[in-house]
């Protein structure tokens, strides 16, 4: 299979969908690759720095027969557009009684670890999860990035694509052809029997590395990658925890009201999963601070492999 980078996989997804359907258009202040060369300035639109209008235009154009891909670039910049996301995008279909579909995809780069400081190092996917009405993807590999983004573009609902910037240069195998990954289906990235680690985005890699190390000790870690955050594949997570009886959740965001909190709560409230638990669940999250600039502090603010290892040891010790 071809090995391509995460960034290239995302570019391919957009290009293939634009080729496939003339109604797909894209807007942003800048683009990776050179899509304007192939698709022309009508369908590839350089915008002013006006994320709010861009975001709302995605809805208006979607309701009028197009399938816009709105590229906010950094997730930082979409906060100026939150009205269009929270008050409009997430609500328009339902509050208008399903009269119209809004097939719009919002893309953004997320994450920390690159010395970009507080504003440009955010991982706020959990905020969007709380808002009912948006679908959300968060891929961890080039193949998932391509397959999920293609599915998002074809979906008839607003979908937000969170694309971890640290993954951009990372390469991996991507199937040829029209590679689609369905929304709402988690993947067990590594099967195991002793501990379930649900990891998100960049931390799927980290969890896999940790699992590899534990295997040498004869401890079998199952790594579950939800891939889609809404709709969340709750069944796969429950099945894994019911098997292992131990849960660690790893995410790059602060813990409070996060995806990690949600996954812990799902397990804690489900009778069968709860009964299966051998001990408390553990969250391994970022520190509850704006991400600091200085490298030693930035590293300390992020979940580290050692934190994942320690959490796994804690759940193993508990029962």
């Amino acid at each position: 299979m071809r090995e391509i980078s995460f960034a290239k996989a995302l570019d391919e997804a957009v290009a293939e969908e634009m080729r496939r359907d003339a109604k797909v258009i894209t807007m942003g202040t800048d683009f990776t690759g050179d899509p304007i060369k192939e698709f022309g300035p009508d369908r590839v639109r350089f915008t002013p720095i006006s994320e709010s209008v861009m975001t709302g235009m995605g809805l208006g154009a979607a309701a009028s027969g197009y399938r816009p891909i709105i590229n906010w670039r950094s997730v930082t910049f979409c906060f100026v557009a939150m009205d269009q996301i929270i008050n409009q995008a997430s609500k328009v279909r339902y509050m208008f009684g399903g009269q119209a579909d809004f097939p719009v995809t919002y893309r953004c780069g997320t994450g920390s670890g690159m010395g970009m400081a507080a504003q440009h190092s955010q991982s706020p996917h959990s905020l969007w999860m709380h808002i009912a009405g948006l679908k959300i993807i968060l891929p961890s590999t080039p193949a998932d990035a391509k397959g999920l983004l293609k599915s998002a573009i074809r979906d008839n609902n607003p979908v937000v694509s969170f694309e971890c910037s640290r993954l951009n240069p990372i390469t991996g195998p991507v199937p040829d052809g029209d590679h689609l990954v369905p929304l709402g289906v988690a993947e067990v990235k590594r099967a195991g029997t002793d501990v379930t680690v649900v990891a998100l985005g960049y931390y799927v890699r980290e969890a896999l590395a940790v699992a590899e190390a534990f295997a040498l000790e004869g401890i079998s870690i199952e790594v579950v990658d939800p891939r889609t955050l809404v709709p969340l594949d709750v069944d796969t997570i429950h099945a894994s925890v019911r098997k292992t009886g131990r849960l660690v959740v790893v995410d790059e965001a602060p813990p409070m009201c996060s995806a990690a909190a949600e996954i812990a709560a799902l397990i804690a409230e489900d009778p069968a999963s709860f009964r299966a638990l051998k001990g408390p669940v553990q969250r391994v999250c970022a520190a509850a601070v704006p991400v600091p600039y200085s490298p030693p502090l930035e590293q300390a603010s992020l979940p580290r492999r050692g934190d994942i290892v320690a959490a796994i040891r804690r759940v193993l010790a508990a029962g």
């Binding site: 258009i25 915008t47 861009m54 208006g60 409009q88 399903g98 009269q99 074809r154 979906d155």
Partner: protein
């Protein structure tokens, strides 16, 4: 521009319908048949009607919290509007939206909006679609003087100017935003001058003169259809009543003489008197028109009353488009 008699009579009828719809809505809100909040547009009918008279069903509009008039002028079915206000399944939004979220996508009415300024970006998106379609369709967005102080107004004007979008920005300057007089919001209380910064035409018209509004809108719409880009029209008007009501109308806080002055500029007799002077309308025909509006409104109430409330089983329907992928 000379309008044909049937068109003028339709415009008159639409203005009367809007006025009577609002009078009725206020009563029905007080009677508890309508819930939440109602923002009547009585007095401002000429703007919606003058502008929408230039549009077809393939042109798209976005509206505001004060949106009933825009709906009616765009050709919405008042029975389904009333059913929506009553929270019933036969309402436009199956009862999920209510007054602030009425929409009829089939006729290009993309929705009222409870957030000041929020409709402008969506209208710009509809204009982008029209531009790409290349069939000469346009988008229109209605908004109040208050929306001009929200950043989205400026972002929408700017991108429309840069991309030469086929869009008309229609400001209903009614001198107030909620209880704040316009000077609380604006140092220069005229809105049209903002157009200059974006290099687009900006004109102010008497928003209580439906023919003046129609004239300005026709020019702007023609310009947009011809690919010459956006325009801004400021319609100076006034709302007859309070900003909004829940179960009872709040007290009037504006100067009594100001209210009286504007009531004397009622756009409806202004058109009907004109039509009578030109021999296009008789008192009897006007009487008949009013009676017909009355009958239609009664029928709408009956329709709404007979429509059931949505069932609890419908709580989760309409959340997501069912077909996940097109082929």
């Amino acid at each position: 521009m000379t309008l044909e008699a049937p068109k003028l009579l339709t415009m008159l009828r639409d203005m009367i319908m809007i006025r009577e719809f609002e009078e009725l809505a206020m009563k029905l809100r007080a009677a508890g048949k309508i819930y939440g909040v109602v923002h009547p547009c009585s007095g401002q009918e000429a703007v919606a009607v003058g502008v929408c008279a230039c549009l077809t069903n393939s042109d798209r509009i976005t509206s505001t919290h004060r949106g009933h008039g825009h709906c009616i002028a765009k050709g919405a079915d008042i029975r389904r509007m009333m059913a929506e206000l009553f929270g019933r399944v036969d309402g436009y939004c199956k009862g999920k939206g209510g007054s602030m979220h009425i929409a009829d996508f089939a006729i290009g009415m993309l929705g009222a909006n409870g957030v000041v300024g929020a409709g402008l970006p969506m209208a710009a998106g509809a204009a982008l679609a029209a531009q790409l379609d290349g069939k000469g369709d346009v988008a229109v967005c209605f908004f109040g003087d208050g929306a001009v102080t929200e950043g989205e107004f400026h972002e929408a004007l700017n991108i429309s100017a840069v991309w030469k979008l086929p869009i008309v920005f229609v400001c209903e300057n009614n001198l107030y935003a909620s209880n704040n007089a316009i000077a609380v919001q604006h140092h220069i209380t005229a809105v049209a001058p903002h157009a200059a910064g974006y290099g687009m035409p900006g004109v102010a018209v008497d928003g209580n003169d439906v023919l003046a509004v129609h004239q300005a809108a026709s020019t702007a719409v023609a310009r947009a259809r011809a690919g010459q880009g956006p325009s801004l029209i400021e319609c100076n008007t006034y709302r007859w009543y309070f900003h909004s009501m829940h179960d009872k109308p709040p007290p009037e806080t504006r100067p009594a003489d100001e209210v009286a002055l504007w009531k004397s500029r009622d756009p409806i007799p202004r058109l009907s008197n004109d039509l009578m002077a030109r021999g296009l309308l008789s008192p009897a025909a006007l009487q008949q028109m009013r009676a017909q509006v009355e009958r239609e409104l009664q029928a709408a109430v009956t329709f709404a009353d007979n429509s059931p409330f949505p069932g609890v089983a419908d709580l989760l329907t309409d959340m997501y488009a069912p077909d996940a992928a097109r082929t």
